[in-house]
């Protein structure tokens, strides 16, 4: 028996295939959703108990650890964590430094306990889901978390693909094209699939591994903070505010207004703020709109138009927001299919994939793809794609390379993953050297073959066609960096640790002012005749205030005057945009 696990940013679930049906397993209180929160106190707590500890012991409790899995210090999203840039992320919790995989493994262990108690037998094999747009390092780290929890991880499967399986199980005779729009707690994916008589073929996938409900909660929290003119909050109060923002977001999916009440904040403050659905939609809209380009890219890669789709299926808790559903209609021109349980369908799909693997579900085949292109670095620091993104796996492909320099006695094969043209902009998965006999330019020939198995694990084979010397390297985990590499990164990194915080904030504000002031002049010059004189006077006044604040070197004053200038120039910006849109 193979269990199916949805290891989510906000919640996690587990289930098994029983008498022909995928079944989710609940804890002793009947709850199927386990909050993905871990608390390190006298003992380790996971789930509901850990969530209760979050506001009391914020330094010993962690939520949304999935946002950090497979990441390195210095990457986007690791702000606020200190460590050597380029080294795998670790998180200080309760006096220890823990890796995201170790923390995730606690969630998985808890799921294992819940499932075994419910099911009455030991469960050692599992399929675990990840966002479709996770790269190799993130997938490898998730696999490791599963192994640390005592599972043999039989497959890492993409979340939207799993959701498509759950949707398609009752429609095995169908021949249709579907899109799965998956907006969860921390990640967004859009996958397009062709269903054809039990064959589920993923055609394309795009996404953003840093876009989800957490970001919406943050935007709402910022809105509340600005409405209530809150000062900088302590960590426990910030967590309470975020929790309140999350609840308001959920309430406002069905109600038109909601009041946030936070009594007894530090310093004896009480706040009470009324929020309307329209207000939070204003704050969340820019974030949700970021999903649009991924949808367009996925359609483009699948070679189809939105009108060719038979269904657009919504999954992930954040798709409950009416605003998300409106945007989906706008992008795809059709009403979304809400037949799938937004929190459960990914886990159900994971269970089904497990059942395919152990043979209990037959005549269903899942053809998944590699979401990111794989290639090698070539002469001039360019990325040469060997296996393009959206290739069905297992797959293989190869190419011949030749020496670019006469007398060269070997070739360095650097394996890359990503979509950027410059090698340096892509993720380096690993590398090795293939030697050959020194020969004139263009005479040595090296065949490079990439082979990916059904788990997405890449094997690279390089062969010198002259000598027949071969080298095969399995690219396992990209997140483990050698000590020397870390040393080198350390040597090359800048010392930020002792920088004065206030000086840095002032510098940031100064740079903003230096960008803003010339922009105001340019805009005024372009719109000279169109503006009412009192508006010009207002803007001039605010500009003078910013200049004065710059000279005073007072951080708070500079930030305040910049915000005022931003406000004063709003209609200026609108006019500029309107003018630009008339160009044709």
């Amino acid at each position: 028996m193979i269990a199916g696990i949805d290891l989510g940013t906000t919640n996690s679930l587990i289930g098994v295939y029983e008498s022909g049906f995928p079944t989710l397993l609940a804890d002793t209180d009947g709850r199927r959703l386990l909050p993905s929160v871990v608390h390190y106190g006298d003992s380790i707590l996971v789930g509901h108990e850990a969530r209760r500890m979050q506001a009391i012991h914020p330094n010993r409790t962690i939520a949304s650890v999935k946002r950090l899995i497979g990441r390195r210090f210095g990457e986007e999203g690791t702000e606020g964590l200190t460590g050597i840039p380029g080294a795998p992320v670790t998180i200080p919790l309760g006096g220890q430094n823990l890796s995201p995989e170790e923390i995730s493994s606690e969630i998985l262990k808890k799921l294992k306990v819940i499932a075994e108690a419910r099911h009455g037998t030991e469960i050692t094999r599992a399929v675990i889901t990840v966002p479709a747009y996770f790269n190799d390092a993130q997938r490898a780290a998730t696999r490791k978390a599963g192994e640390l929890a005592g599972f043999s991880v039989e497959r890492i499967v993409s979340e939207p693909t799993a959701a498509a399986l759950a949707y398609g199980l009752d429609r095995l005779q169908d021949r249709s094209k579907i899109a799965v729009y998956d907006l969860g707690g921390g990640t967004f994916d859009l996958s397009i699939l062709q269903l054809d008589n039990g064959v589920f073929q993923v055609l394309s996938t795009h996404g953003d591994t840093r876009l989800g409900g957490d970001d919406l909660d943050q935007a709402i929290a910022a809105l509340v903070a600005s409405k209530a003119s809150l000062p900088r909050l302590s960590l426990p109060d910030t967590i309470r505010l975020h929790e309140a923002a999350r609840l308001a977001k959920e309430t406002l999916s069905t109600e038109e207004q909601s009041t946030i009440r936070l009594p007894f904040l530090e310093g004896g403050m009480n706040i009470e703020v009324m929020l309307t659905r329209a207000e939070i939609e204003g704050a969340c809209s820019p974030i949700i709109r970021r999903t649009r380009i991924h949808c367009l890219r996925a359609l483009e890669d699948a070679g189809i138009k939105a009108a060719d789709l038979d269904q657009v299926i919504l999954v992930g808790g954040s798709t409950r927001m009416p605003l998300v559903q409106h945007l989906v209609v706008e992008i795809f021109g059709k009403e979304p299919n809400l037949s799938q349980h937004p929190d459960e369908s990914v886990a159900l799909g994971a269970i089904l994939q497990g059942a395919i693997l152990d043979g209990s579900l037959q005549n269903v085949a899942l053809l998944d793809i590699t979401p990111l292109s794989l290639g090698i670095e070539t002469f001039g620091g360019l990325m040469n794609v060997i296996i393009p993104r959206n290739t069905t796996i297992p797959a293989k492909a190869g190419e011949m390379f030749t020496n670019a320099v006469a007398g060269q006695s070997g070739m360095r094969i650097t394996v890359l993953q990503g979509e950027r043209e410059l090698a340096a902009d892509n993720w380096k998965l690993g590398g090795f050297e293939i030697p050959f006999a020194p020969s004139p330019k263009g005479a040595a020939r090296v065949g490079v073959q990439f082979s990916i198995d059904a788990d997405g694990i890449l094997q690279v084979l390089a062969r010198d066609t002259g000598t027949g010397i071969e080298k095969i390297v399995e690219i396992k985990s990209a997140v483990e960096v050698s000590d020397e590499a870390v040393e080198a990164m350390l040597a090359g990194s800048l010392e930020h640790a002792f920088e004065d915080m206030d000086a840095r904030i002032f510098t940031e504000a100064r740079l903003k002012a230096e960008e803003m002031l010339p922009a105001v002049e340019a805009a005024l010059a372009q719109l000279a005749g169109e503006l009412p004189p009192d508006e010009i006077a207002g803007i001039r006044h605010q500009t003078a205030e910013v200049t004065a604040a710059l000279q005073s070197k007072e951080t708070v004053r500079l930030k305040q005057t910049l915000a005022n200038l931003d406000n004063a120039t709003q209609s200026l910006a609108t006019r500029l945009i309107e003018r630009a849109m008339k160009i044709s």
Partner: protein, 168 residues
């Protein structure tokens, strides 16, 4: 066989050969995937037919379009990066007019490229109707042209989407 028939036949075979299935075969599945990829891509298909691997002189029409494509790609990347770095609404608003004219120029290059792509397809059909009479030189020339046309089209499309995301 048209594209749709190839895709359907591929799915049927792939569903049976996938290593997760009983009687599946990973090596055969990979071979099938490679074959399907070649059939889908005219450049690879022609190369396969002509049996050529070495590169040839730059097709004339490609050389003519190359400078236009490269210029617009560079302009797009610079302007998109500038917009991404703008930290306030006003600076962004000032960039809207240049972005709008860039998007018009981009569409014009895309149109020229797609006209060329259509002429390549016509040439392919001519070769098809006289098959197997063909000149390996012509085949490899056409294969290279298809490869450039498709690569550039996807690069331009990527910028078009990025511009669309900014301009809304």
């Amino acid at each position: 066989m048209d594209d749709e028939e190839i895709a359907t036949a591929y799915r049927k075979l792939a569903g049976a050969l996938h290593p997760d299935q009983q009687g599946g075969d990973a090596a055969a599945f990979r071979e099938l995937g490679e074959a399907a990829a070649i059939l889908r891509d005219p450049a690879r298909r022609l190369k396969e037919l002509a049996g050529i691997s070495a590169s040839h002189p730059f097709p004339e029409k490609a050389a003519e379009l190359f400078s236009k494509v490269a210029e617009i790609l560079q302009r797009s990347d610079a302007l998109i990066a500038q917009t991404g770095m703008a930290s306030n609404a006003l600076t962004k608003a000032l960039l809207m007019a240049p972005l709008k004219s860039l998007s018009l120029d981009l569409s014009s290059v895309q149109e020229q490229l797609s006209t060329w792509r259509i002429s390549l397809e016509e040439e392919m059909q001519r070769i098809d109707s006289h098959w197997p009479e063909s000149n390996p030189e012509t085949l490899s020339h056409l294969a290279d042209s298809f490869a450039y046309a498709d690569r550039w089209a996807s690069q331009l499309r990527e910028r078009e989407l990025a511009l669309e995301a900014i301009l809304g």
